[in-house]
Symmetry: C2
Subunit: 209 residues, 2 copies
């Protein structure tokens, strides 16, 4: 059974398919965020999406495929936002400026694509490695981005030499990622969180110093 030489490797789907696929993903992300992997059933996803459970299989081959798609989108939203923000920075931007920009973009993307990023974070440690191949690779790329940025800053003396970047990075990213658990958009703008996070990161919480 060899593939025919048709240029479209993916069978061209109609427009409604794209829409339903999106609704399924939206519903899955919302359920995953609130209930985790095991408690998110295909029937509950279907109900939120407004279709029957069996119809999901026209768009996805399995529950795990939905998982991977949601998580990939969650990670990609953040990594794309941070990359783009860093790319629009002038080439001679300071390390300090770059870190500040990355933190702001990370938080903004994280909290505005709430369901996908929260689902990705919450579900990440909960599902077998085989179910998150695509998102796993993206995540490692993203970690490397931060690691390189911090290491470069330290090499140029923009960050204290006595700090271990392999502790700094997870402490910082953990602090940011955890915001999905407590941040309330009705209480404060994201910018306030980002500003104070950067301020604390750079200068600490002690007065004067």
């Amino acid at each position: 059974m060899s593939e025919p030489a048709t240029p479209a490797s993916v069978p061209r789907r109609g427009r409604k398919s794209e829409m339903s696929r999106g609704q399924i993903l939206d519903a899955a992300a919302r359920m995953l965020r609130r209930q985790g992997y095991g408690s998110t059933t295909l029937r509950s996803i279907a109900e939120v999406a407004g279709i029957q459970a069996g119809s999901i299989y026209y768009h996805f081959a399995s529950k795990d495929e939905i998982m991977d798609a949601v998580m990939e989108r969650g990670v990609r939203a953040v990594i794309d936002a941070v990359r783009e923000a860093l790319d629009t920075l002038p080439n001679d931007a300071s390390h300090q400026r770059r870190i500040e920009t990355a933190v702001g973009a990370h938080l903004q993307a994280l909290l505005s694509h709430g369901d996908y990023t929260s689902a990705s974070i919450r579900t990440y440690g909960e599902v077998p490695v085989a179910f998150k191949q695509k998102s796993l690779q993206l995540q490692q790329t993203y970690v490397a981005l931060w690691q390189d940025m911090l290491a470069a800053a330290q090499a140029d003396g923009a960050i204290r030499q006595d700090l271990d970047p392999h502790i700094l990075r997870p402490l910082l990213l953990g602090s940011l990622n955890w915001t999905v658990e407590w941040y309330d958009p009705n209480q404060r703008p994201v910018e306030d969180i980002a500003a104070q996070a950067v301020d604390m990161l750079f200068h600490g919480i002690l007065p004067d110093s």
Copy 2:
């Protein structure tokens, strides 16, 4: 103290019951940490505990009761450790010293009672409020402890006045709580993480300043 003539209204249980109950909780905490609430089955808990699934119901009335017990123990381990550490401090200890102590105790308890604290953190947002009544109350008490400590420090000028403690606290605790997702005891002692976390929190990551 003299023992009463055993008018025990509560049926006095033998000693083995306590042991089995502990093994069930241990197994549940381990499964919950790795797979979350929905994917943790009573049969898998029973298998790890070395008993049959039905036998669990001699010790617990339902799956949810196990959940609540695990989460309560996770939160209690941390809150007790932090309280005790703060209590052994001299009464005239500085705010800085108190915060440093609390961070250290929080991290130490979090990472040494790994399964329970991790399960508690991971499962917390995943289960209905009705299933975590006991742990919910404890958690609110714990949050208040930190909030009061930080507010007191700020009132005395030990923390910068321009920082919002309602942003500072979740950012800090989030950073600490996230360590359960990445910390590897075979790589570094907990003390190294705690030391750098406190250092960064107090002085920031910029040089000199």
